[in-house]
């Protein structure tokens, strides 16, 4: 008689991941955590698509005479911009981390409208399919800004199909914002007062305000654009009395605040990381919270700084310039408060914190060069040069993508229940930082020297800096591939995560199991202390 010993079976505690494995349980889920993962995979796919267009651009710019036809290059930068802005940056942190964390952070079982949350993902996917379809059909060459009358009259590419994709995806953004606003107002657990909300939630609240108020305007703008392209009534055509600058006003009324949709959630992530890895109470909680709302409000009043050389009235430009300086103040308050939080903290250097450091440095450069561009006289020189490209990539990529990666690493144990390999992750963070700066710092110089954006060819004296930039882009590409690989590995094979690997504060770590069950909490959460109450531990330890 043979005796075989089987290892004792350990029943895994039920959580949102192991509760069901069928494909229906994912595609018809109303669980905010599963929808967040649906978003995670789809925006990663769009990031890869948008990134591959960037690869084409940087290859083309290795040689002054270019590698591709001018038309091909026009399509590459257009589709890079459209995919990255509307299908990656806008949904990135809100739809993935915000979706996953906001209900848990405020002690709710789900977002207020779970079915609308799922609907928003489907809408996003449909919009994405339109955009990708347009790319396969031959692409679009208007620039992501769709400026009329080129887009309405002269371009013979797939403007309407692409615009439809952006239009549809906009509704997904609106529904996400709507869900967040209602959830944050109505679903907070007992004791979770407005003054105790994690700053991540505050920044998403501000983001949601912009999503709800701004996105409908781009929607109607794109409708007018498509109708005009079909009918040629002349609404944006100066030949027959139309006003092309009206289009720019309408476009930037959304698209400048959209920049804050793309950075505020990142600021929210950083506000979580800094106190945790400094072991200190956040410095100036109220200032950080209200600066988010201030950015959302003032951000609606600065769009005219995109029109300094477009023919806008000089007086309007002056006001827009001053307001643009004003919107820098709340951002500066945040940077000041993060650094003040770190002052005399016991700082540790885990991967999320490395990304937070990267964010603060790069966002500061991006923000300060924004002031340069908001200065009218300087903007005349720098408009439509690589200086602008470098500026907003420092904010969007150096800021938002850094924060996104930092947040993904920080909450990876929460989301997957497993730990990622710390050594690889630190290495990748370093690669991203080096690659990023090598890619985009030379572009500041190129722009200042006068290299215009959106041309497939350039003067030979710009080649060295362009080659540096392309080299940096390939390093950056490796830096982005690494996390995709080791996080995918860690998802299946990584060591099991403890309940609270960072010793972090917040309901998601302290009261919700890791990974969370479907309804997030085993016992109804109660909040009895302010956010980031790290001070106690510091006294004990």
């Amino acid at each position: 008689m043979s005796t075989t010993f089987e290892p004792p079976r350990v029943e895994e505690r039920p959580n949102y991941l192991n509760v069901d494995y069928g494909w229906k349980s994912w595609l018809f889920t109303t669980d905010h955590k599963r929808i967040a993962l649906l978003y995670l995979f789809s925006i990663t796919a769009f990031f890869v698509i948008g990134g591959s267009f960037a690869v084409g651009m940087r290859l083309n710019l290795l040689r002054p005479e270019g590698l591709f036809e001018a038309d091909t290059y026009n399509k590459l930068f257009t589709m890079h911009g459209i995919i990255m802005v509307f299908f990656f940056l806008v949904p990135s942190i809100p739809a993935v981390l915000g979706n996953f964390l906001i209900p848990i952070m405020i002690g709710a079982r789900d977002l207020a409208f779970p079915r609308i949350n799922l609907l928003s993902w489907y809408i996003y996917v449909v919009g994405g399919i339109f955009a990708v379809l347009a790319a396969f059909e031959g692409g679009v060459d208007t620039g992501w800004t769709f400026y009329a009358p080129f887009s309405t009259t002269y371009s013979n590419t797939h403007v309407i199909l692409t615009a439809m994709g952006v239009f549809v995806a906009g509704f997904s953004s609106i529904l996400t914002g709507l869900n967040f606003i209602v959830t944050i107002h109505k679903m907070r657990a007992p004791g979770m007062t407005w003054g105790r909300l994690p700053l991540f939630v505050w920044s998403h609240y501000a983001t949601a305000i912009i999503q709800v108020l701004g996105t409908p305007v781009i929607a109607i703008t794109l409708v007018l654009l498509a109708l005009e392209r079909l009918l040629h009534a002349g609404i944006f055509d100066p030949n027959v009395g139309g006003d092309p600058i009206l289009f720019q006003h309408l476009f930037w009324f959304y698209s400048h605040p959209a920049v804050y949709i793309m950075i505020l959630p990142g600021m929210g992530v950083i506000s979580e990381l800094i106190p945790c890895f400094s072991r200190k109470v956040i410095f100036g909680y109220n200032f950080i919270a209200f600066s988010s709302v201030a950015i959302a409000v003032i951000g609606f009043l600065v769009w005219g700084h995109h029109l300094f050389v477009a023919g806008q009235s000089m007086y309007a430009s002056t006001v827009f310039s001053l307001l643009s300086f004003l919107v820098a103040v709340p951002s500066a308050i945040k940077v000041f408060n993060w650094t003040a939080t770190m002052y005399r903290g016991s700082i540790s250097y885990e991967t999320p914190m490395l990304y937070a450091f990267g964010f603060i440095g790069l966002f500061t450069i991006g923000g300060l060069t924004g002031l340069v561009l908001a200065t009218m006289a300087l903007d005349v020189h720098l408009t439509d040069t690589y200086f602008v490209i470098a500026h907003f990539h420092y904010v969007m990529v150096g800021g938002m993508v850094m924060a996104y990666l930092g947040g993904i690493h920080f909450w990876f144990p929460k989301i997957s229940g497993r730990m990622y390999p710390e050594g690889w992750a630190k290495f990748a963070a370093l690669v991203v930082f080096v690659g990023f700066n090598l890619t985009f710092f030379p572009q500041f110089l190129l722009g200042y020297l006068g290299m215009p954006r959106r041309y497939h060819a350039y003067a030979p004296e710009f080649q060295i800096l362009n080659v540096m930039s392309s080299a940096g882009a390939s390093i950056l590409g490796v830096g982005y591939l690494l996390p995709m690989i080791y996080l995918a590995w860690a998802w299946r094979k990584g060591p099991k995560a403890p309940q609270n690997p960072w010793g972090a504060k917040g309901l998601e770590w302290e009261q919700s199991p890791t990974p969370p069950p479907t309804y997030n909490f085993e016992t109804p959460p109660v909040v009895t202390e302010p956010a980031y109450n790290y001070a106690e531990e510091a006294h004990v330890g």
Partner: protein
């Protein structure tokens, strides 16, 4: 009818979904969500009202000229029709609060009918524009050659604004039809009638948009 207690508490009900603690919380969330959605709608139409303002200031004379081709009589009738439909919608919500299924269905059907009357009259107006070659596009023709181009822009705005409004009416008609089906299947009680209330809000919003469209497009400049 005797006193009606409109301050009826909304009791716990089987329709409270898993993530809400109370029916009140659920109802308040729905209401807030609907108002936020209407805010997005205001911004959506706001883009067109903004464009309208720009062109009205640029071309006041052309505007006065095109307003003579707006059918004020039909527009006026339609305004009255919509205001009546708002009244029947309010009465439908009231009937839902009282839990009166028969009245609820009656007023919803009336609202739906009035909505259809509006769309039918709108169709007649659009048809007039078609006959007169006032639809923007290759077939557009304007008698007064001074304003040939500008008039086309203004008609473009007219069709964009009233067209978007009509689209919202069609969606609203679909929603009201759904309500009628739900009501006839006894889905609503005096404690739970959230969809009636929410779609009511939507319907009023669409009406209010028309209340702005009518004077701006039909009346201003008409007597010049």
């Amino acid at each position: 009818m005797a006193e009606i207690d409109t301050s009826l508490p909304i009791h716990a009900h089987s329709e409270v979904r898993h993530h809400f603690d109370t029916a009140d919380q659920q109802f308040e969330s729905s209401t807030l969500g609907m108002w936020v959605f209407l805010l997005t709608e205001i911004m959506f139409f706001g883009g067109m009202f903004g464009s309208y303002t720009v062109y009205r200031n640029l071309y006041p004379d052309a505007f006065a000229s095109t307003s003579h081709f707006m059918n004020v009589t039909l527009g006026g009738i339609n305004t009255a029709v919509l205001i009546c439909s708002s009244l029947t919608m309010v009465l439908a919500v009231h009937a839902a609060q009282l839990g009166s299924k028969r009245k609820l269905i009656l007023f919803l059907v009336l609202t739906l009918l009035l909505g259809c009357v509006f769309l039918a009259i709108k169709y007649v107006e659009y048809h007039e524009k078609w006959v007169d070659h006032h639809i923007p596009g290759p077939g557009f023709h304007y008698a007064d050659s001074r304003y040939a181009h500008q008039a086309q822009i203004l008609f473009f705005l007219y069709f964009a604004m009233t067209g978007m409004h009509a689209l919202h009416m069609i969606v609203g008609a679909g929603l009201i039809t759904t309500l009628i089906v739900m009501a006839s299947r006894n889905r609503f009680t005096e404690h739970w009638f959230t969809p009636v209330e929410m779609i009511g809000l939507y319907w009023h919003f669409v009406d209010i948009v028309w209340i702005f469209l009518f004077p701006l497009l039909y009346l201003i400049g008409h007597t010049k």
